[in-house]
Amino acid sequence: MLYPRIIPCLLVKNKGLVKTVKFREPKYVGDPINAVRIFNEKKVDELIVLDIDATEQDREPDYRMIENLAIECRMPLCYGGGIKTFEQASNIFSLGVEKIAVSSSAVNNPQLISQISAQVGSQSMVVVLDVKKSFSGYDIYISNGRKKVNRNLIEFVVELQELGIGELVINSIDIDGVMKGYDLYLVELLRKIVRVPLTIMGGAGSLTDIGALINRFGIIGAAAGSLFVFKGKYKAVLINYPTSREKELLIAENALFL
């Protein structure tokens, strides 16, 4: 049977790893390759790496870094950041990355999604949507949470599925780095319409939070940043991840469907 996925998400800025709070205050937490090596040892389910500078600086993805990450990774890798063209996407796949993620391009050039999906297969086409709670529901943002997109979240997700995405990652801006739990109401809203694998990011502060997500939604991707790079109440930088045993227990306690 298929298991829920527990996924560390790493943010890259100026070639270093950072962790943000509500998409701000990037705090340096270490070297990406070193982190991947540790996550290999810890046998993580998969890894998401997002270069949060690339689109902002309007530059090419850092192929050298991506290649190094892909070589090192013993688990599936999803890369996102600065991908605007099919050629760029194709280059990144050839470096050994299993999945690529787009955000800004999904909004600015949705045709890119159908093109990648037709040639490379939808299973490798991931869209990350950064969302923020609004008065009436949820708004989509691009450019690291600075630019609001004038689209209805649900309608846009339906459209993305028609274009051929293989996975949807939803990142909650308001609770990024807050570590008090996922926005389960948002997941509920999306679960009704999402037909592709869904991964939730933003807010996880403990394994209990991940357990709560799995308990309610079964097979789902539970992604987290702070939880897997910080330890203790003073948030000391320490790469960590549940052991196989802890993960088994977490799933067994919560996934009653299995």
């Binding site: 049977m1 013993r74 599936p76 991707g221």
Partner: protein, 204 residues
């Protein structure tokens, strides 16, 4: 020496990295002369069926691979789309496959959605051995591998199925016929079990 076929599709470096750490000699093979002194072949693959088949065709390696696999009976392991390429055809495309194992590639039925299962099949799932095969020896109990696919291999001959995986229905996740092996999941991205399987392939 193992040849990891480089035709511009698939995660060549990940295989290389694992074999390199195991101290097993390998070569990233992109031209005919790369196949000299090779004793085993890995055919990786990521992407759409037609895209992968046409890239393989363009690489100019197809005849060479046919000769090594069909005439010289060299062991070959197709991975993910590389496995699907072993079939005669795929519902994902119009090009014909290599036809090294009798079967066709089908799309997961959209009725999976009614069971709360999404397409693609993405994540860690168990493989259940249907019979003994050297390629699946020494795996952990209830071994898990990483899957990422919307299409699956449907064998014409039940005897070619080495392991099955359950996703709504059951499908063949590891197949073998004679010297031809295929695996739907990604052993190069499946931690210990994947490494064991790749080591087993070398030791065949």
């Amino acid at each position: 020496m193992i040849a990891i076929v480089d035709y511009g599709v698939g995660n060549i470096r990940a295989f290389a990295n694992i074999y390199s750490s195991l101290g097993i000699s390998f070569k990233i093979a992109s031209k005919l002369s790369d196949f000299d002194s090779v004793t085993k072949i890995i055919l990786p693959g990521v992407g759409a069926f037609d895209y992968a088949m046409s890239r393989l065709h363009l690489s100019g390696l197809r005849d060479k691979l046919n000769e090594l696999v069909l005439e010289r009976k060299m062991p070959v392991l197709g991975v993910c789309v590389g496995m699907q390429m072993l079939a005669r055809s795929s519902e994902e495309g119009t090009l014909s496959g290599l036809g090294w194992i009798d079967g066709e590639v089908k799309k997961f039925d959209s009725s999976l959605l009614n069971q709360g299962l999404n397409i693609p099949h993405m994540g860690w799932n168990n493989i259940v051995l249907s019979k003994y095969n050297k390629i699946t020896k020494d795996l952990e109990t209830a071994p898990r591998f990483y899957f990422l696919h919307s299409y699956y291999f449907c064998c014409s001959c039940a005897d070619d199925v080495v392991a099955i995986t359950e996703y709504g229905d059951k499908f063949a996740s590891v197949v073998n016929s004679d010297n031809v092996y295929g695996i739907q999941c990604h052993p190069e991205k499946s931690h210990n079990n994947g490494i064991t399987l790749l080591k087993n392939f070398w030791e065949l």
